[in-house]
Amino acid sequence: MPRNPLLLDACVAINLAATYRLQHITQAIDVTFTLARQAAAEVGYLRDTAGGDLIRTPIDLGQHAGDTLQIIDLTPPEYPVYLRLAREVDDGEAATIAAAAHRGLQLATDDRKARRLCTELRIPEPLRTLALLRTYADAAALQHAQLRDLLIRIRDRASFQPSRSDPDHKWWQDGIDTL
Protein backbone atom coordinates (compact mmCIF):
# COMPACT_ATOMS: atom_id res chain seq x y z
CA MET A 1 0.00 0.00 0.00
CA PRO A 2 1.33 3.46 -0.83
CA ARG A 3 2.47 5.45 2.16
CA ASN A 4 0.99 8.80 3.13
CA PRO A 5 2.73 11.77 1.53
CA LEU A 6 4.18 14.27 4.01
CA LEU A 7 5.06 17.65 2.48
CA LEU A 8 8.34 19.08 3.76
CA ASP A 9 9.64 22.56 3.25
CA ALA A 10 13.33 22.96 2.42
CA CYS A 11 14.34 23.66 6.04
CA VAL A 12 12.77 20.52 7.48
CA ALA A 13 14.20 18.50 4.57
CA ILE A 14 17.69 19.80 5.42
CA ASN A 15 17.29 18.78 9.07
CA LEU A 16 16.18 15.28 8.15
CA ALA A 17 18.86 14.89 5.48
CA ALA A 18 21.47 15.69 8.15
CA THR A 19 20.51 12.51 10.05
CA TYR A 20 21.65 10.10 7.27
CA ARG A 21 18.42 8.22 8.08
CA LEU A 22 15.82 9.49 5.65
CA GLN A 23 14.83 6.00 4.58
CA HIS A 24 14.58 4.64 8.13
CA ILE A 25 12.46 7.57 9.20
CA THR A 26 9.96 7.20 6.35
CA GLN A 27 9.66 3.46 6.99
CA ALA A 28 9.22 3.87 10.72
CA ILE A 29 6.53 6.53 10.51
CA ASP A 30 5.00 5.20 7.28
CA VAL A 31 5.22 8.31 5.11
CA THR A 32 6.78 9.37 1.83
CA PHE A 33 8.56 12.69 2.12
CA THR A 34 7.27 15.01 -0.57
CA LEU A 35 8.90 18.23 -1.74
CA ALA A 36 7.74 20.84 -4.21
CA ARG A 37 10.38 21.20 -6.94
CA GLN A 38 11.00 24.80 -5.87
CA ALA A 39 11.65 23.72 -2.26
CA ALA A 40 13.98 20.93 -3.37
CA ALA A 41 16.01 23.52 -5.29
CA GLU A 42 16.59 25.46 -2.07
CA VAL A 43 18.13 22.77 0.15
CA GLY A 44 21.78 23.58 -0.65
CA TYR A 45 24.49 22.11 1.57
CA LEU A 46 25.18 20.60 4.98
CA ARG A 47 28.39 21.45 6.87
CA ASP A 48 30.89 18.74 7.80
CA THR A 49 34.45 18.80 9.04
CA ALA A 50 37.31 17.07 7.30
CA GLY A 51 40.83 17.32 8.68
CA GLY A 52 39.75 20.21 10.90
CA ASP A 53 38.32 22.18 7.96
CA LEU A 54 34.67 22.99 7.53
CA ILE A 55 33.38 21.67 4.22
CA ARG A 56 30.08 21.97 2.39
CA THR A 57 28.38 18.67 1.60
CA PRO A 58 25.75 18.91 -1.14
CA ILE A 59 22.35 17.50 -0.19
CA ASP A 60 21.48 14.95 -2.86
CA LEU A 61 17.75 14.36 -2.61
CA GLY A 62 17.75 12.51 -5.93
CA GLN A 63 19.33 9.41 -4.34
CA HIS A 64 16.22 8.94 -2.19
CA ALA A 65 13.70 9.16 -5.07
CA GLY A 66 11.01 6.50 -4.75
CA ASP A 67 9.21 5.38 -1.62
CA THR A 68 11.40 7.58 0.57
CA LEU A 69 11.04 10.86 -1.26
CA GLN A 70 9.18 12.33 -4.20
CA ILE A 71 9.46 15.68 -5.91
CA ILE A 72 6.21 17.18 -7.16
CA ASP A 73 5.39 19.87 -9.71
CA LEU A 74 2.61 22.34 -9.18
CA THR A 75 -0.35 22.10 -11.51
CA PRO A 76 -2.01 25.09 -13.25
CA PRO A 77 -4.92 25.32 -10.78
CA GLU A 78 -2.30 25.80 -8.03
CA TYR A 79 -0.46 28.62 -9.82
CA PRO A 80 -2.60 31.58 -8.65
CA VAL A 81 -2.19 30.70 -4.95
CA TYR A 82 1.50 30.02 -5.52
CA LEU A 83 2.02 33.45 -7.10
CA ARG A 84 0.06 35.25 -4.40
CA LEU A 85 2.20 33.55 -1.75
CA ALA A 86 5.42 34.24 -3.69
CA ARG A 87 4.87 37.96 -3.10
CA GLU A 88 5.32 37.24 0.60
CA VAL A 89 7.76 34.34 0.86
CA ASP A 90 10.40 32.48 -1.16
CA ASP A 91 9.47 30.24 -4.08
CA GLY A 92 9.96 27.00 -2.14
CA GLU A 93 7.76 27.96 0.78
CA ALA A 94 5.13 29.41 -1.57
CA ALA A 95 4.99 26.23 -3.66
CA THR A 96 4.90 23.99 -0.57
CA ILE A 97 2.04 25.89 1.04
CA ALA A 98 0.14 26.11 -2.27
CA ALA A 99 0.41 22.32 -2.68
CA ALA A 100 -0.70 21.73 0.92
CA ALA A 101 -3.67 24.05 0.46
CA HIS A 102 -4.77 22.61 -2.85
CA ARG A 103 -4.11 18.91 -2.27
CA GLY A 104 -4.96 18.78 1.43
CA LEU A 105 -1.60 17.23 2.32
CA GLN A 106 -0.06 17.21 5.78
CA LEU A 107 2.78 19.75 5.89
CA ALA A 108 5.94 20.05 8.04
CA THR A 109 7.62 23.40 8.60
CA ASP A 110 9.31 25.17 11.51
CA ASP A 111 9.20 28.55 9.82
CA ARG A 112 7.21 31.17 11.74
CA LYS A 113 6.15 33.10 8.66
CA ALA A 114 5.15 29.94 6.81
CA ARG A 115 3.15 28.70 9.77
CA ARG A 116 1.35 32.05 10.01
CA LEU A 117 0.41 31.88 6.32
CA CYS A 118 -0.90 28.34 6.86
CA THR A 119 -3.17 29.63 9.61
CA GLU A 120 -4.43 32.38 7.32
CA LEU A 121 -5.18 29.81 4.62
CA ARG A 122 -6.86 27.50 7.16
CA ILE A 123 -4.35 24.74 6.50
CA PRO A 124 -4.24 22.23 9.42
CA GLU A 125 -1.41 23.03 11.84
CA PRO A 126 1.88 21.89 10.28
CA LEU A 127 4.20 19.44 12.03
CA ARG A 128 7.61 20.59 13.22
CA THR A 129 11.03 18.94 12.87
CA LEU A 130 11.12 17.94 16.54
CA ALA A 131 7.61 16.43 16.54
CA LEU A 132 8.59 14.37 13.51
CA LEU A 133 11.81 13.19 15.12
CA ARG A 134 10.07 12.37 18.36
CA THR A 135 7.48 10.27 16.54
CA TYR A 136 10.29 8.50 14.72
CA ALA A 137 12.32 7.92 17.90
CA ASP A 138 9.27 6.36 19.58
CA ALA A 139 8.28 4.28 16.55
CA ALA A 140 11.81 2.98 16.02
CA ALA A 141 12.42 2.59 19.78
CA LEU A 142 15.75 4.40 19.47
CA GLN A 143 18.28 3.91 22.25
CA HIS A 144 19.31 7.07 24.07
CA ALA A 145 22.76 7.08 22.51
CA GLN A 146 21.29 6.67 19.02
CA LEU A 147 18.89 9.53 19.60
CA ARG A 148 21.68 11.73 20.88
CA ASP A 149 23.79 11.05 17.79
CA LEU A 150 20.84 11.85 15.59
CA LEU A 151 20.11 15.17 17.28
CA ILE A 152 23.76 16.19 17.33
CA ARG A 153 24.01 15.55 13.59
CA ILE A 154 21.10 17.91 12.99
CA ARG A 155 22.58 20.52 15.30
CA ASP A 156 26.06 20.35 13.80
CA ARG A 157 25.55 19.43 10.15
CA ALA A 158 22.40 21.52 9.60
CA SER A 159 23.19 24.20 12.24
CA PHE A 160 19.63 23.73 13.48
CA GLN A 161 18.55 25.39 16.74
CA PRO A 162 14.88 24.86 17.53
CA SER A 163 12.96 27.81 18.87
CA ARG A 164 12.50 27.82 22.66
CA SER A 165 8.77 28.06 22.02
CA ASP A 166 8.80 24.68 20.22
CA PRO A 167 6.63 22.33 22.34
CA ASP A 168 9.40 19.69 22.09
CA HIS A 169 12.30 22.00 22.91
CA LYS A 170 12.92 20.38 26.30
CA TRP A 171 12.90 16.92 24.68
CA TRP A 172 15.56 18.16 22.23
CA GLN A 173 17.66 19.76 24.97
CA ASP A 174 17.45 16.67 27.19
CA GLY A 175 18.26 14.46 24.24
CA ILE A 176 21.43 16.36 23.49
CA ASP A 177 22.56 17.29 27.00
CA THR A 178 21.87 14.51 29.39
CA LEU A 179 21.58 11.25 27.61
Binding site: R84, A86, E93, S159
Partner: protein
Protein backbone atom coordinates in the same frame (compact mmCIF):
# COMPACT_ATOMS: atom_id res chain seq x y z
CA UNK B 1 -7.34 38.96 -13.66
CA UNK B 2 -4.89 36.94 -11.64
CA UNK B 3 -4.41 39.25 -8.65
CA UNK B 4 -0.77 38.35 -8.05
CA UNK B 5 0.62 41.86 -8.53
CA UNK B 6 0.14 44.46 -5.85
CA UNK B 7 -1.01 47.89 -6.98
CA UNK B 8 -1.30 49.01 -3.35
CA UNK B 9 2.45 48.78 -2.88
CA UNK B 10 3.12 51.05 -5.83
CA UNK B 11 4.60 48.34 -8.00
CA UNK B 12 1.88 46.29 -9.63
CA UNK B 13 2.05 45.47 -13.31
CA UNK B 14 4.55 48.25 -14.01
CA UNK B 15 7.00 46.91 -11.42
CA UNK B 16 6.65 43.39 -12.75
CA UNK B 17 7.02 44.56 -16.35
CA UNK B 18 10.29 46.36 -15.62
CA UNK B 19 11.62 43.37 -13.69
CA UNK B 20 10.79 41.02 -16.54
CA UNK B 21 12.59 43.28 -18.98
CA UNK B 22 15.64 43.60 -16.72
CA UNK B 23 15.74 39.83 -16.12
CA UNK B 24 15.66 39.11 -19.85
CA UNK B 25 18.43 41.62 -20.54
CA UNK B 26 20.53 40.28 -17.71
CA UNK B 27 20.14 36.80 -19.21
CA UNK B 28 21.36 38.18 -22.54
CA UNK B 29 18.21 37.22 -24.46
CA UNK B 30 16.53 39.25 -27.19
CA UNK B 31 12.77 39.74 -27.09
CA UNK B 32 12.44 37.39 -30.06
CA UNK B 33 14.44 34.64 -28.31
CA UNK B 34 12.50 34.99 -25.07
CA UNK B 35 9.17 35.01 -26.93
CA UNK B 36 10.17 31.87 -28.82
CA UNK B 37 11.15 30.05 -25.61
CA UNK B 38 7.91 31.11 -23.98
CA UNK B 39 5.94 30.04 -27.04
CA UNK B 40 4.28 33.41 -27.69
CA UNK B 41 4.64 36.08 -30.36
CA UNK B 42 7.20 38.86 -29.98
CA UNK B 43 4.52 41.59 -29.87
CA UNK B 44 2.87 39.75 -26.97
CA UNK B 45 6.14 39.60 -25.04
CA UNK B 46 6.68 43.30 -25.73
CA UNK B 47 3.20 44.02 -24.37
CA UNK B 48 4.05 42.06 -21.20
CA UNK B 49 7.30 43.98 -20.80
CA UNK B 50 5.47 47.28 -21.31
CA UNK B 51 2.86 46.34 -18.73
CA UNK B 52 0.00 46.71 -21.22
CA UNK B 53 -0.79 43.00 -20.98
CA UNK B 54 -0.48 41.03 -17.74
CA UNK B 55 1.39 37.74 -17.99
CA UNK B 56 -0.78 34.75 -17.12
CA UNK B 57 0.35 32.74 -14.07
CA UNK B 58 1.71 29.99 -16.33
CA UNK B 59 3.60 32.50 -18.47
CA UNK B 60 5.11 34.21 -15.47
CA UNK B 61 6.30 30.92 -13.97
CA UNK B 62 7.78 29.88 -17.32
CA UNK B 63 9.51 33.25 -17.79
CA UNK B 64 11.10 32.97 -14.33
CA UNK B 65 12.45 29.58 -15.38
CA UNK B 66 13.79 30.92 -18.71
CA UNK B 67 15.49 33.87 -17.01
CA UNK B 68 16.81 31.82 -14.07
CA UNK B 69 15.15 34.14 -11.56
CA UNK B 70 12.98 33.23 -8.57
CA UNK B 71 9.32 34.13 -9.13
CA UNK B 72 9.33 35.85 -5.74
CA UNK B 73 12.02 38.24 -6.97
CA UNK B 74 10.13 39.11 -10.13
CA UNK B 75 7.09 39.89 -7.99
CA UNK B 76 8.85 42.47 -5.82
CA UNK B 77 6.73 45.62 -6.00
CA UNK B 78 9.56 48.02 -6.83
CA UNK B 79 11.44 48.38 -10.09
CA UNK B 80 14.96 46.84 -10.02
CA UNK B 81 17.96 49.19 -9.65
CA UNK B 82 18.99 48.89 -13.30
CA UNK B 83 20.53 52.36 -13.06
CA UNK B 84 23.66 50.73 -11.64
CA UNK B 85 24.39 48.83 -14.84
CA UNK B 86 23.46 51.80 -17.00
CA UNK B 87 25.83 54.08 -15.11
CA UNK B 88 28.70 51.65 -15.45
CA UNK B 89 28.28 51.27 -19.20
CA UNK B 90 30.60 54.18 -20.02
CA UNK B 91 33.15 53.25 -17.35
CA UNK B 92 33.34 49.65 -18.57
CA UNK B 93 33.93 50.69 -22.16
CA UNK B 94 37.45 51.85 -21.31
CA UNK B 95 38.72 48.94 -19.17
CA UNK B 96 40.15 45.53 -20.05
CA UNK B 97 38.24 42.40 -18.87
CA UNK B 98 34.96 44.28 -19.24
CA UNK B 99 33.13 40.93 -19.43
CA UNK B 100 34.28 39.83 -15.99
CA UNK B 101 33.55 43.27 -14.58
CA UNK B 102 30.12 43.28 -16.09
CA UNK B 103 29.36 40.11 -14.09
CA UNK B 104 30.44 41.93 -10.92
CA UNK B 105 28.20 44.88 -11.79
CA UNK B 106 25.24 42.52 -12.21
CA UNK B 107 26.05 41.03 -8.82
CA UNK B 108 26.19 44.51 -7.31
CA UNK B 109 22.79 45.24 -8.86
CA UNK B 110 21.33 42.06 -7.37
CA UNK B 111 22.71 42.82 -3.94
CA UNK B 112 21.50 46.42 -4.08
CA UNK B 113 18.07 45.11 -5.11
CA UNK B 114 18.05 42.78 -2.09
CA UNK B 115 19.05 45.65 0.21
CA UNK B 116 16.25 47.84 -1.15
CA UNK B 117 13.76 45.04 -0.69
CA UNK B 118 14.86 44.61 2.93
CA UNK B 119 14.43 48.34 3.54
CA UNK B 120 10.92 48.13 2.06
CA UNK B 121 9.99 45.13 4.19
CA UNK B 122 11.37 46.75 7.35
CA UNK B 123 9.85 50.11 6.44
CA UNK B 124 13.29 51.55 7.19
CA UNK B 125 15.75 53.93 5.62
CA UNK B 126 19.40 53.29 4.92
CA UNK B 127 21.57 54.96 7.60
CA UNK B 128 24.00 57.80 7.07
CA UNK B 129 24.79 61.48 7.47
CA UNK B 130 25.26 62.21 3.81
CA UNK B 131 27.90 64.84 3.05
CA UNK B 132 27.22 67.38 0.30
CA UNK B 133 29.04 66.89 -3.00
CA UNK B 134 32.24 68.96 -3.27
CA UNK B 135 33.89 70.45 -6.30
CA UNK B 136 37.63 69.94 -6.67
CA UNK B 137 38.04 71.27 -10.17
CA UNK B 138 40.97 73.65 -10.59
CA UNK B 139 42.43 72.60 -7.23
CA UNK B 140 45.72 70.81 -6.67
CA UNK B 141 44.65 67.15 -6.26
CA UNK B 142 47.01 66.51 -3.37
CA UNK B 143 45.96 69.58 -1.41
CA UNK B 144 42.27 69.02 -2.16
CA UNK B 145 42.56 65.42 -0.93
CA UNK B 146 44.20 66.50 2.34
CA UNK B 147 41.75 69.36 2.98
CA UNK B 148 38.70 67.24 2.31
CA UNK B 149 39.97 64.33 4.43
CA UNK B 150 40.56 66.69 7.38
CA UNK B 151 37.14 68.24 6.90
CA UNK B 152 35.43 64.85 6.82
CA UNK B 153 37.28 63.62 9.90
CA UNK B 154 36.13 66.76 11.73
CA UNK B 155 32.54 66.39 10.51
CA UNK B 156 32.45 62.81 11.74
CA UNK B 157 34.25 63.58 15.03
CA UNK B 158 37.04 61.09 14.33
CA UNK B 159 40.01 63.03 15.78
CA UNK B 160 43.42 62.26 14.27
CA UNK B 161 43.94 58.65 15.36
CA UNK B 162 43.65 55.40 13.41
CA UNK B 163 40.14 54.33 12.37
CA UNK B 164 39.85 50.62 13.10
CA UNK B 165 36.17 50.06 12.28
CA UNK B 166 36.51 51.87 8.95
CA UNK B 167 33.78 49.96 7.15
CA UNK B 168 31.27 50.59 9.95
CA UNK B 169 32.12 54.32 9.97
CA UNK B 170 31.60 54.55 6.22
CA UNK B 171 28.38 52.56 6.28
CA UNK B 172 26.69 53.88 9.39
CA UNK B 173 28.08 57.41 9.76
CA UNK B 174 28.72 58.44 6.17
CA UNK B 175 25.98 56.40 4.50
CA UNK B 176 28.02 54.47 1.96
CA UNK B 177 27.00 50.90 1.10
CA UNK B 178 30.06 48.66 0.99
CA UNK B 179 29.81 45.37 -0.91
CA UNK B 180 32.73 42.94 -1.20
CA UNK B 181 32.75 41.48 -4.69
CA UNK B 182 34.81 39.03 -6.70
CA UNK B 183 36.59 41.40 -9.09
CA UNK B 184 39.47 40.86 -11.54
CA UNK B 185 42.82 40.91 -9.72
CA UNK B 186 43.88 44.21 -11.28
CA UNK B 187 40.69 46.01 -10.18
CA UNK B 188 40.66 47.35 -6.62
CA UNK B 189 37.12 48.63 -6.49
CA UNK B 190 34.03 50.19 -8.02
CA UNK B 191 31.96 53.20 -7.14
CA UNK B 192 28.47 54.15 -8.26
CA UNK B 193 25.84 56.53 -6.94
CA UNK B 194 22.17 55.72 -7.32
CA UNK B 195 19.38 57.88 -5.96
CA UNK B 196 17.51 55.08 -4.21
CA UNK B 197 20.47 53.78 -2.24
CA UNK B 198 23.13 56.50 -2.25
CA UNK B 199 26.84 55.80 -2.78
CA UNK B 200 27.64 52.13 -3.38
CA UNK B 201 31.19 50.80 -3.20
CA UNK B 202 32.32 47.44 -4.52
CA UNK B 203 35.64 46.25 -3.05
CA UNK B 204 37.73 43.38 -4.38
CA UNK B 205 37.04 40.54 -1.94
CA UNK B 206 40.29 38.74 -2.80
CA UNK B 207 42.53 41.68 -1.84
CA UNK B 208 44.18 41.75 1.61
CA UNK B 209 42.37 43.55 4.44
CA UNK B 210 44.69 46.59 4.34
CA UNK B 211 44.22 46.99 0.61
CA UNK B 212 40.47 46.75 0.99
CA UNK B 213 40.55 49.53 3.57
CA UNK B 214 42.54 51.71 1.22
CA UNK B 215 40.08 51.03 -1.59
CA UNK B 216 37.11 51.96 0.63
CA UNK B 217 38.72 55.30 1.54
CA UNK B 218 39.65 55.88 -2.11
CA UNK B 219 36.10 55.29 -3.33
CA UNK B 220 34.79 57.48 -0.51
CA UNK B 221 36.73 60.33 -2.15
CA UNK B 222 34.92 59.67 -5.44
CA UNK B 223 31.65 59.79 -3.56
CA UNK B 224 32.54 63.22 -2.18
CA UNK B 225 33.83 64.77 -5.37
CA UNK B 226 32.61 62.94 -8.47
CA UNK B 227 29.53 60.99 -7.41
CA UNK B 228 27.77 61.60 -10.72
CA UNK B 229 30.30 59.35 -12.44
CA UNK B 230 30.59 55.57 -12.00
CA UNK B 231 34.22 54.59 -11.34
CA UNK B 232 36.29 51.47 -11.88
CA UNK B 233 39.50 51.78 -9.86
CA UNK B 234 42.41 49.78 -11.25
CA UNK B 235 45.46 48.80 -9.23
CA UNK B 236 48.04 51.21 -10.63
CA UNK B 237 51.36 52.76 -9.73
CA UNK B 238 50.70 56.22 -8.40
CA UNK B 239 53.15 57.77 -10.85
CA UNK B 240 50.81 56.98 -13.73
CA UNK B 241 47.52 58.20 -12.35
CA UNK B 242 45.11 60.77 -13.76
CA UNK B 243 44.25 63.75 -11.53
CA UNK B 244 40.97 62.34 -10.21
CA UNK B 245 42.76 59.19 -9.05
CA UNK B 246 45.61 61.18 -7.47
CA UNK B 247 43.01 63.20 -5.58
CA UNK B 248 41.26 60.02 -4.40
CA UNK B 249 44.56 58.47 -3.28
CA UNK B 250 45.57 61.69 -1.50
CA UNK B 251 42.22 61.66 0.29
CA UNK B 252 42.66 58.01 1.26
CA UNK B 253 46.17 58.62 2.60
CA UNK B 254 45.07 61.63 4.65
CA UNK B 255 41.84 60.06 5.86
CA UNK B 256 43.50 56.84 6.98
CA UNK B 257 46.76 58.43 8.21
CA UNK B 258 46.17 62.08 9.20
CA UNK B 259 49.29 64.23 9.18
CA UNK B 260 49.16 65.33 12.84
CA UNK B 261 48.34 61.97 14.40
CA UNK B 262 50.78 60.03 12.27
CA UNK B 263 53.63 62.48 12.92
CA UNK B 264 53.03 62.29 16.66
CA UNK B 265 52.96 58.49 16.75
CA UNK B 266 55.99 58.29 14.48
CA UNK B 267 58.05 60.54 16.77
CA UNK B 268 56.89 58.65 19.88
CA UNK B 269 58.02 55.34 18.37
CA UNK B 270 61.28 56.86 17.19
CA UNK B 271 62.03 58.26 20.66
CA UNK B 272 61.55 54.79 22.10
CA UNK B 273 64.21 53.49 19.72
CA UNK B 274 66.93 56.09 20.35
CA UNK B 275 65.87 58.16 17.35
CA UNK B 276 66.23 55.32 14.88
CA UNK B 277 63.69 54.39 12.26
CA UNK B 278 63.84 50.69 11.54
CA UNK B 279 61.66 48.46 9.36
CA UNK B 280 60.08 47.32 12.63
CA UNK B 281 58.95 50.92 13.25
CA UNK B 282 57.22 50.92 9.88
CA UNK B 283 55.59 47.54 10.47
CA UNK B 284 54.26 48.63 13.87
CA UNK B 285 52.86 51.90 12.53
CA UNK B 286 51.27 50.19 9.53
CA UNK B 287 49.62 47.73 11.89
CA UNK B 288 48.32 50.55 14.09
CA UNK B 289 46.71 52.32 11.12
CA UNK B 290 45.47 49.19 9.36
CA UNK B 291 47.35 49.99 6.14
CA UNK B 292 50.05 48.18 4.21
CA UNK B 293 53.71 48.89 5.02
CA UNK B 294 54.08 50.25 1.50
CA UNK B 295 51.19 52.72 1.93
CA UNK B 296 52.55 53.77 5.34
CA UNK B 297 56.10 54.26 4.08
CA UNK B 298 55.00 56.27 1.05
CA UNK B 299 52.88 58.43 3.36
CA UNK B 300 55.89 59.03 5.64
CA UNK B 301 57.93 59.96 2.55
CA UNK B 302 55.24 62.47 1.50
CA UNK B 303 55.31 63.97 4.99
CA UNK B 304 59.16 64.12 4.87
CA UNK B 305 59.35 61.98 8.00
CA UNK B 306 61.56 59.45 6.19
CA UNK B 307 63.82 60.19 3.21
CA UNK B 308 62.32 60.00 -0.29
CA UNK B 309 62.93 56.58 -1.86
CA UNK B 310 62.74 54.68 1.44
CA UNK B 311 60.14 52.26 0.11
CA UNK B 312 62.15 51.63 -3.09
CA UNK B 313 65.22 50.97 -0.95
CA UNK B 314 63.34 48.48 1.21
CA UNK B 315 62.00 46.76 -1.91
CA UNK B 316 65.51 46.56 -3.39
CA UNK B 317 66.64 44.81 -0.19
CA UNK B 318 63.83 42.29 -0.63
CA UNK B 319 62.06 43.49 2.50
CA UNK B 320 59.08 41.19 3.23
CA UNK B 321 56.45 43.12 5.22
CA UNK B 322 54.30 40.04 5.86
CA UNK B 323 57.20 38.02 7.22
CA UNK B 324 58.27 40.97 9.39
CA UNK B 325 54.74 41.37 10.73
CA UNK B 326 54.65 37.68 11.57
CA UNK B 327 57.88 37.95 13.55
CA UNK B 328 56.64 41.04 15.37
CA UNK B 329 53.23 39.52 16.03
CA UNK B 330 51.44 42.35 14.21
CA UNK B 331 49.99 40.32 11.36
CA UNK B 332 46.62 41.78 10.44
CA UNK B 333 43.77 39.63 11.68
CA UNK B 334 42.09 38.43 8.50
CA UNK B 335 38.57 39.59 9.21
CA UNK B 336 35.61 37.60 8.00
CA UNK B 337 34.94 39.01 4.57
CA UNK B 338 31.27 39.77 4.98
CA UNK B 339 30.19 40.53 1.48
CA UNK B 340 27.19 42.67 2.41
CA UNK B 341 26.82 45.94 4.31
CA UNK B 342 26.40 45.39 8.05
CA UNK B 343 23.08 47.26 8.11
CA UNK B 344 21.77 45.03 5.35
CA UNK B 345 22.73 41.88 7.28
CA UNK B 346 21.21 43.20 10.50
CA UNK B 347 17.95 44.11 8.76
CA UNK B 348 17.67 40.59 7.34
CA UNK B 349 18.38 39.00 10.71
CA UNK B 350 15.86 41.21 12.51
CA UNK B 351 13.15 40.55 9.92
CA UNK B 352 13.76 36.82 10.27
CA UNK B 353 13.70 37.04 14.07
CA UNK B 354 10.40 38.90 13.86
CA UNK B 355 8.92 36.18 11.65
CA UNK B 356 8.60 38.60 8.74
CA UNK B 357 10.72 36.59 6.31
CA UNK B 358 11.37 32.86 5.94
CA UNK B 359 14.66 31.05 6.40
CA UNK B 360 15.22 30.63 2.63
CA UNK B 361 14.57 34.36 2.22
CA UNK B 362 17.12 35.07 4.95
CA UNK B 363 19.55 32.91 2.99
CA UNK B 364 18.86 34.80 -0.22
CA UNK B 365 19.27 38.21 1.43
CA UNK B 366 22.52 37.08 3.05
CA UNK B 367 23.72 35.63 -0.24
CA UNK B 368 24.27 32.12 1.11
CA UNK B 369 22.45 28.79 1.42
CA UNK B 370 20.01 27.92 4.22
CA UNK B 371 22.58 26.30 6.53
CA UNK B 372 24.91 29.24 5.87
CA UNK B 373 22.09 31.59 6.86
CA UNK B 374 21.51 29.66 10.09
CA UNK B 375 25.19 29.97 10.95
CA UNK B 376 25.19 33.70 10.11
CA UNK B 377 22.07 34.21 12.21
CA UNK B 378 23.67 32.48 15.17
CA UNK B 379 26.86 34.53 14.78
CA UNK B 380 25.01 37.83 14.52
CA UNK B 381 22.83 37.08 17.56
CA UNK B 382 25.56 35.54 19.72
CA UNK B 383 26.53 37.48 22.83
CA UNK B 384 29.98 37.51 24.39
CA UNK B 385 28.59 35.36 27.20
CA UNK B 386 28.42 31.61 27.51
CA UNK B 387 25.54 29.36 28.51
CA UNK B 388 25.65 27.06 31.54
CA UNK B 389 27.12 24.29 29.40
CA UNK B 390 29.94 26.54 28.21
CA UNK B 391 28.62 27.00 24.68
CA UNK B 392 28.21 30.49 23.22
CA UNK B 393 24.99 32.15 24.38
CA UNK B 394 22.58 33.13 21.65
CA UNK B 395 19.95 35.77 22.21
CA UNK B 396 16.73 34.63 20.64
CA UNK B 397 15.52 37.94 19.22
CA UNK B 398 12.08 36.61 18.46
CA UNK B 399 11.51 35.56 22.06
CA UNK B 400 13.18 38.66 23.49
CA UNK B 401 10.61 40.68 21.54
CA UNK B 402 7.86 38.62 23.15
Amino acid sequence: MTNYTDEDQGGGIAGLASRLRAARESRGLTQAQAASELGVSRPLLIAIEKGTREASPGELIKLAEIYGKPVSELLRPSAPPVAIGARFRAALASVPDAGQLSGAVTRLEDQADNYLDLLRRANAEAPGRYPAARSISHLDPWQAGEDLATEERNRLGLGDGPIRPLREVLEIEVGLRVFLLPLPRHVAGLFVYVDVLGGCIGVNISHPTERRRWTMAHEYAHYLATRDRAEVTPVTQRRHQPESERFADAFAANFLMPRSGLSRRFHELRRGKDGKVTPATLVQLAHAYGVSVQALTLRLEDLRLVPPGTWDKLSDHDFQPRAAARILGTEPAEQAADALPLHCRLLAVQLYADGEITEPQLARYLNTDIVGARRAYQELTETGDVSDDGSPQIVDLSEAAG
